[in-house]
């Protein structure tokens, strides 16, 4: 696979882009302990958006890993997870807001810290969302790549520190045009003493076509039907 464009997103930053159908995106936790949060929308109709409950329910899973697809609320697949070295990524922990960051790590303001301020995930998503006419009402449960929130038998939740080692990687393949909002701010359950600031390397590439034995397509009959919904969506639409 040839990487067409590569960039390093420092910890505590945000960005957004539109990934076209067939685009591949590799993510690497360069130093270990990163958190990369993402939300997904249909750029042609942003009312269609990533739906964590639908994604978890139709694949009978609480964690995300290779083979899983990320679904919109309209029964279509934004992207599928084609590679994963970790086996568990979170989509239930949500975001830290300014108050949580202040409580846990203390606020470091732009006036003193410049771009090393303690940015929070909620503000990061609001800024990126506003670039597309979206706002608070449009935010939803996000994916937290490289983070693991474990569940015990009684339902109690715990953040797993040191889950993601240096060099951990994930690769996504976009199955339709997708608006991606992302930030590298800390996971809200991270108990680290100092504000965790870990970079993530992003690489864009052209994904090979989906083969008949593709691990995402064949994971479950539900995913075959999800891919069928995408085929229907693209009928007559070229690409």
């Amino acid at each position: 696979m040839t990487i067409d464009y590569q960039t390093l997103l420092d910890g505590g930053k945000h960005w957004s882009f539109t990934a076209r159908r067939g685009t591949g995106l590799s993510l690497e936790d360069v130093e270990g302990g990163a958190n990369l949060a993402m939300l997904f929308y249909n750029p042609a109709n942003p009312l269609e958006r990533y739906n964590a409950p639908d994604t978890l329910k139709c694949q009978h899973t609480f964690r995300l890993t290779r083979g899983h697809c990320l679904y919109s609320d309209m029964g279509r697949i934004f992207c599928s997870i084609v590679e994963d070295s970790l086996g568990w990524h979170d989509t239930v922990g949500g975001n830290a807001d300014k108050a949580l960051v202040a409580r846990r790590w203390g606020l470091s303001r732009y006036q003193e810290a410049r771009n090393d301020w303690t940015q929070n995930g909620q503000d990061a998503f609001l800024v990126e969302a506003a670039k597309y006419g979206l706002g608070r009402r449009d935010l939803a449960a996000n994916v937290n790549w490289f983070s693991k929130v474990a569940v015990a038998g009684d339902g109690s939740l715990s953040f797993v520190p040191d889950h993601s080692p240096p060099g951990a990687s994930v690769a996504l393949r976009f199955e339709m045009d997708t608006l991606v909002l992302l930030h590298s701010c800390p996971h809200p359950m991270n108990p680290a003493e100092a504000y965790p600031r870990r970079p993530v390397r992003l690489g864009f590439f052209t994904a090979p076509p989906v083969a008949d034995d593709d691990p995402c397509l064949t994971l479950r009959p539900e995913n075959r039907r999800g891919f069928a919904n995408n085929r229907l969506y693209h009928l007559g639409g070229g690409h």
């Binding site: 409950p53 639908d54 009978h60 899973t61 449960a141 939740l157």
Partner: protein
């Protein structure tokens, strides 16, 4: 799981309304009022969303609620938080013991994925909600506000290896869940019409809502 009976007398309720299977209910509940949902015949799912009446862009947030209580199940003592981290309601009585807020609501589109592409025309919770926001514009809601809900009476256990299972419900005829509003809220319920899985025992039935001043 802790069960807790309520002292409230249904005869004293200021509102009692039976919601038929597959119907929606939307109304306001005031700060300090007690709000109960009764599973009249058992094994029913009540898909529920809450909004702050003063500003509906503040709304129930499943992920904030779960994270801050440190547990994936809702039961007595659960404080239902908004997307701004404020307490909207607190569950004060419960005869079921566990309610789901991970599984979301059924939709005609998700039915195509879960069951069959040709089941797209079957009635679903999100269709009920969308009809509610269309028929009741005075609440100021639209599809943007249709989000991650609570499934009262549903049992969706998470396994230690990260699986999600759909277990037989813990609810039964006449069991209820009750909560006290910590702010003025709009309640939007779809009484789930799902026929393709056991969340309603393949036979959706009515629920009742009660409000005490």
């Amino acid at each position: 799981m802790e069960l807790c009976r309520s002292p409230m007398d249904p005869e004293q309720a200021i509102l009692r309304r039976v919601i038929g299977a597959g119907d929606y209910w939307i109304d306001s509940v005031r700060q300090g009022q007690t709000f109960r949902i009764v599973d009249l015949e058992g094994n029913q799912a009540a898909d529920t969303l809450f909004y702050a009446a003063a500003d509906p862009t503040e709304r129930y947030s499943a992920i904030d609620t779960l994270r801050e209580q440190g547990n994936v199940y809702l039961s007595v003592g659960s404080r239902l938080l908004s997307n701004l981290g404020r307490v909207m309601l607190e569950i004060t009585a419960d005869l079921v013991g566990r309610h789901d807020t991970l599984g979301g609501a059924c939709a005609s589109e998700s039915n195509t994925v879960r069951y069959d592409l040709e089941k797209r025309t079957m009635h679903a919770c999100r269709d009920s909600w969308l009809l509610a926001v269309a028929e009741q514009p005075q609440f100021g809601l639209s599809k943007r506000d249709i989000t991650h809900n609570i499934n009262f009476f549903m049992n969706v256990p998470v396994t230690a290896d990260g699986g999600l299972t759909f277990a037989d419900g813990l609810s039964g005829p006449g069991k209820y869940v009750e909560m006290v509003a910590a702010m003025d809220v709009i309640v939007l319920i779809s009484n789930c019409p799902q026929l393709n899985n056991p969340c309603n025992g393949y036979n959706p039935t009515p629920i009742e809502v009660l409000v005490w001043a």
